[in-house]
Symmetry: D2
Subunit: 416 residues, 4 copies
Amino acid sequence: MRMNDPGLWAARYQAVRGHTLALAAPLSAEDCGAQSMPDASPVKWHLAHTTWFFETFILEVLEPGFAPFHPAFRVLFNSYYNGVGDKHPRAQRGLLTRPSLDEVKAYRANVDGRIVALLGGLADGAARERLAALLTLGLEHEQQHQELLLTDVKHLLAQSALYPAYLERPLAAAAASPLEWVACEGGVVTVGHDGDGFCFDNELPRHRQFVEPFALASRLVTNGEYLAFIEAGGYTTPALWLAEGWDWARAQDLRQPLYWQRDEAGNWHEFTLAGLRPLDLHRPVTHVSLFEADAYAHWAGARLPTEGEWECAARAHGGLPGDVPAFAHPSEMDDADVLRQLFGHCWQWTSSSYAPYPGFKPAAGAIGEYNGKFMVNQYVLRGSSCATPAGHARVSYRNFFPAGARWQFTGIRLAR
Amino acid sequence: MRMNDPGLWAARYQAVRGHTLALAAPLSAEDCGAQSMPDASPVKWHLAHTTWFFETFILEVLEPGFAPFHPAFRVLFNSYYNGVGDKHPRAQRGLLTRPSLDEVKAYRANVDGRIVALLGGLADGAARERLAALLTLGLEHEQQHQELLLTDVKHLLAQSALYPAYLERPLAAAAASPLEWVACEGGVVTVGHDGDGFCFDNELPRHRQFVEPFALASRLVTNGEYLAFIEAGGYTTPALWLAEGWDWARAQDLRQPLYWQRDEAGNWHEFTLAGLRPLDLHRPVTHVSLFEADAYAHWAGARLPTEGEWECAARAHGGLPGDVPAFAHPSEMDDADVLRQLFGHCWQWTSSSYAPYPGFKPAAGAIGEYNGKFMVNQYVLRGSSCATPAGHARVSYRNFFPAGARWQFTGIRLAR
Amino acid sequence: MRMNDPGLWAARYQAVRGHTLALAAPLSAEDCGAQSMPDASPVKWHLAHTTWFFETFILEVLEPGFAPFHPAFRVLFNSYYNGVGDKHPRAQRGLLTRPSLDEVKAYRANVDGRIVALLGGLADGAARERLAALLTLGLEHEQQHQELLLTDVKHLLAQSALYPAYLERPLAAAAASPLEWVACEGGVVTVGHDGDGFCFDNELPRHRQFVEPFALASRLVTNGEYLAFIEAGGYTTPALWLAEGWDWARAQDLRQPLYWQRDEAGNWHEFTLAGLRPLDLHRPVTHVSLFEADAYAHWAGARLPTEGEWECAARAHGGLPGDVPAFAHPSEMDDADVLRQLFGHCWQWTSSSYAPYPGFKPAAGAIGEYNGKFMVNQYVLRGSSCATPAGHARVSYRNFFPAGARWQFTGIRLAR
Amino acid sequence: MRMNDPGLWAARYQAVRGHTLALAAPLSAEDCGAQSMPDASPVKWHLAHTTWFFETFILEVLEPGFAPFHPAFRVLFNSYYNGVGDKHPRAQRGLLTRPSLDEVKAYRANVDGRIVALLGGLADGAARERLAALLTLGLEHEQQHQELLLTDVKHLLAQSALYPAYLERPLAAAAASPLEWVACEGGVVTVGHDGDGFCFDNELPRHRQFVEPFALASRLVTNGEYLAFIEAGGYTTPALWLAEGWDWARAQDLRQPLYWQRDEAGNWHEFTLAGLRPLDLHRPVTHVSLFEADAYAHWAGARLPTEGEWECAARAHGGLPGDVPAFAHPSEMDDADVLRQLFGHCWQWTSSSYAPYPGFKPAAGAIGEYNGKFMVNQYVLRGSSCATPAGHARVSYRNFFPAGARWQFTGIRLAR
């Protein structure tokens, strides 16, 4: 999108920024301040860090007479940009009771006003195009944090024995479709982002891969199927597991997905953003690690797809990402395509290590730290989840997490 | 105090309980929820746990038709009483964003109302005496948590680069008195609580000890004196330190007391409950561990007193605990006695390991877990601090912490 | 090699087995017993475990009236085969002072005798072919442990301030050739083992990949080049590093490759199997992690090759593995090919995560645990090193280690 | 003992030094090199460190033209004397395969020869007296390491599933005497070393303590009595335990003393220096921590004695340490005194934290690091054990270990 109409840009900016605040609205200031593990961040920190991103990478560069909203915020809300300077320790973000939530909201309002003013004040030309590019990146970044905000607060709420709901809403029951295998021919295929729209640097360059013929499952693995794996001794059979996964699971004595629990009567429940619910056997299993996904696939006589296979099949047989995800929980609803549940339910683990595409070039400067420096010991997930904001998903999108991560909405699509 | 006038008891109960809320008043709900380290607890947890104490040990026993305010609170707000049942993990108290601060205040109000009703409803006799004893213990327990609330929130506020003050208040400057040595004869002396007033079980039985002649410093070690120790290489000279203390200090690369910091110009500052302040050389040094206190004493050609020596000297030459401590910070003010600063400034490390007095008997049941089970690998501190509530200190009082604890208002009184 | 002539098999068996003992010959029983880190194993353990492999996977299956040499050895010398049963804890292999080195040698002799007897006693047919396959795997396994024995004992000897040599031998000095870039066309290339000879399961199936045009460095990075990286601030510039690598290096305060040290006069030395030596600037840098290799490549304006690129270039432009490596240290000697130092100097880190080839199938039973279960969070190294036994290297060989491993003879070949 | 007859001194020196070698004689070089945990040291290290003590504190001071046997040994075999300089890391003593055991024996022989030569060469006077004092300290130090050598090697041998005996010797069975309570009057008693013989600095000054009347058990707690505690749920009843002890035991899932194990048929065995033996219910329980001793005492309705009580009772009612301990294991044999098993069976935990006696002064210089710097977070044990060398025990002897130590021959004597 080019910078033809600053008013449209301002509207889009305010819509995305406003959605973040709307996601925080059901939460108290107390809920927004706590950090339940080093991998997660407080909601307040998400609100502030996304604002810091606009202040640091846009206002500091383009605003005449720039002065920071608060000098200490440059350190407090820097996530991982070494090029920007010092960082507050990641594991201690939950100790920042000051600034308060209200002060962070004031910080947001201040930066938002200055961004909108900047939009109105720029003449045509290179500066305006540069602003358009940075603004787009900032808003995509904000959307990534919208998803993290939900998964992080879900993890936090799960720590309390009260099991509070983030939002009370009914979760309708339904039946899963039969699992079918969708055949793909493979050969030399093209992978990576195409077209004019935005993409992250890690989706480029578009390039060729050679893919052997394969088949992809028509839908995600369900809770019921995963429960059968558990009941067949899946968590106690080392031959099904990667060696590191086995050690990882045993060290924590894992026996089920994150957020599953069994009551004294033996009934399974699952903690959701809508509170603790009886386990719905037809919904997709979620909150499993790559290790668990791989062990399940092994047990089921299948395997995980590579990201090239996933993208190739999705381009051939999948639909487009929908517009309005229901962020409470992955559902069993079909999207009426051959490959169902590609988007809007669970991120799908692939067997592909997160690596640069041939010819990958990160951006210059601190903003180049966005993606490339994480390309080791992480695995690619494809699709999108029930927590992904509308308009953020793409068929070439590459999400990535370490093999043991479980607090995202991660699920399993089989290949063979 | 016997249970002659229930109205007086209710007034005392409400005064102590109200003081806890007053201590929390300058803090936001966010401030009250965070936990800066496993040793510290959130303010909200202090508010709830002290209420749990009255509910569990009084209402559950004495209230007709008792029903808990909330069944989950029995676990959430149990500190360490195995006899009561399960406990929420100590290091995760900061993750309890639910119940909210308002719900905890409602819990306090509910229990307070029921306690006052109980006071009014009891006939004379054994039940009333038992209530008096339990109520007294509960209020003394509440006062202990009032002090912890202040030291814990100080530790929390120190984590933010904003260095916010708990309370803005001026700290007057003044001169320290010269250090003098107060001689004591020793011999067979009597140690432990006497009289009719309340004491904890660990202050009994009153018993005899043999003490060699000794001298005790007339006042606490000052910041200026401790700075001289630092500048003389105190933190880099292993010969001054206990072996475990040396390893402890080196593992953390310690070079000054907790809350001291030096700015780029080389000037020392100290974080206080009134914010970051220039280091006042005349005030007592505080927030030092036993290891640091012992190393300082070694460097100064002296030693730490035993708790028997401290009590013996305090009984002979000290004043009584004052009534109105100024909780912002230890001061340089004299109390006009031979032994100054015994109470109301800093707890004073002794060389005595925390151990039972000969013939010590803890109470029966879960309440007997109050003191005795901690009598290993901890050291006794005597006196009281600027954060100790009025009316809580006693000459026989035995505070105790591990040798590496620094977040209490701990200071140094020399002996030789 | 088929089982036509049992006598030739017996000779080959005894030659490989004898070479392991020869490698241990310069070491005392004390040297053979110690374990310097959990990743490394004692020499004695290598001697016993390789014997356990033959006993468990051949004698236990094929020997009539099989009885174990010692029942406890089944557990003591199992490395990671869950299918075989319990294992002695990996990190405590150095505590097995019993059985003694002499007893382990007796164990070797016993098993060797029974294997040779088995060879002589089998009639033609399927059992003989099965024995041939297992024997080959056992000997290749033994050769892998020959290399580990050397790298593990090097790590151990480096722990002593005496810096003892494993073997005293002169290391001749010489000049490195200029670095040239060897261009490769890429396209759809075929990767994986071909021909009749032995390969591990992870080298199969032979399959196609699509490779963009690239160039590979004609030789390995030298100590001199790596020193320039250090002197240019390579270890203190986060922008050069993968994020996880930066954290890894800072947590250990790394500033040079493993085994490099600088004396008080500022001269660099390198600990080798021939003792502590002045750093030879013309030899290949070795004992670097993937993180360091990647940071160096980044600094040099290049990158690491993928394993597909490496194999493609080696097949087109490389020589065959030589017969007689000099195990003391990587050298600067040219092999007179376009791509030099492919084999016999340093294993070469690739950017490829260790993953199954399309259609990979591990063997059935416990022996299938050989390779597949390690295919996560490890990176592929290609080529071979100065410690690889003669006859063990192949152009399709896939070695693999975690990104932080440094105690193998690992080096850097650049691509672009 | 004064330095009247150098020949007698040389004989005593050689007898003690020779005994250390005799203790190592049943062990292989492999056995002598391994370190089973950071708290324990390899036998070879004991042999070298005790030699280092004589070289550093005597030869370096008194030998004309002193030159070290090997410069690196000054660092390698320094235990904890910061005043002497750097130290090899304690946890890595087992990695010192060089110098070899033979080289360490040569080191011993060299230093022994020079010490004996020094004895013969000194004229009368102050230097000779100083030598006598240092030699005595060195030999007492050597004897302490003789005991540690045995307890450390026992811990090492227990790591092997082969459960090898240090020495094969029969352990005769017998009956324990009934437990009786020996009453002591207490009052102002005198504690600490008296007389002319050697003592460590921590046994001085002799001083007064006030002790209330008490009774001490006539013998140690037996295996049978301790087994009753286990069977009554001792390890699963938190009310019996110190809070830190309970956490300590649960974190390791402890359910019996170190070295006890139960076979599949439910029979208890105990690993001893004579190998794995059926548990003898009449022998004293040993290898228990202070935490376990305290919990047992609590369960038995008794308590542990203070060290003042122990010494007072032992002086009044005990015998002298015997001359020839049987180092294989604590026995049930009576010593025919009122208080039995004071010496030569198990060290007896007291409730006394290890602290300086009033007026304690460590020696000047590095040798002053011997005792004083460990006087925090350790507990005093009195008596001596089956591993204590003949002539080393004293009624005033203060042994000390942390509350969780179990690998010494530690046992329980009750008080009340």
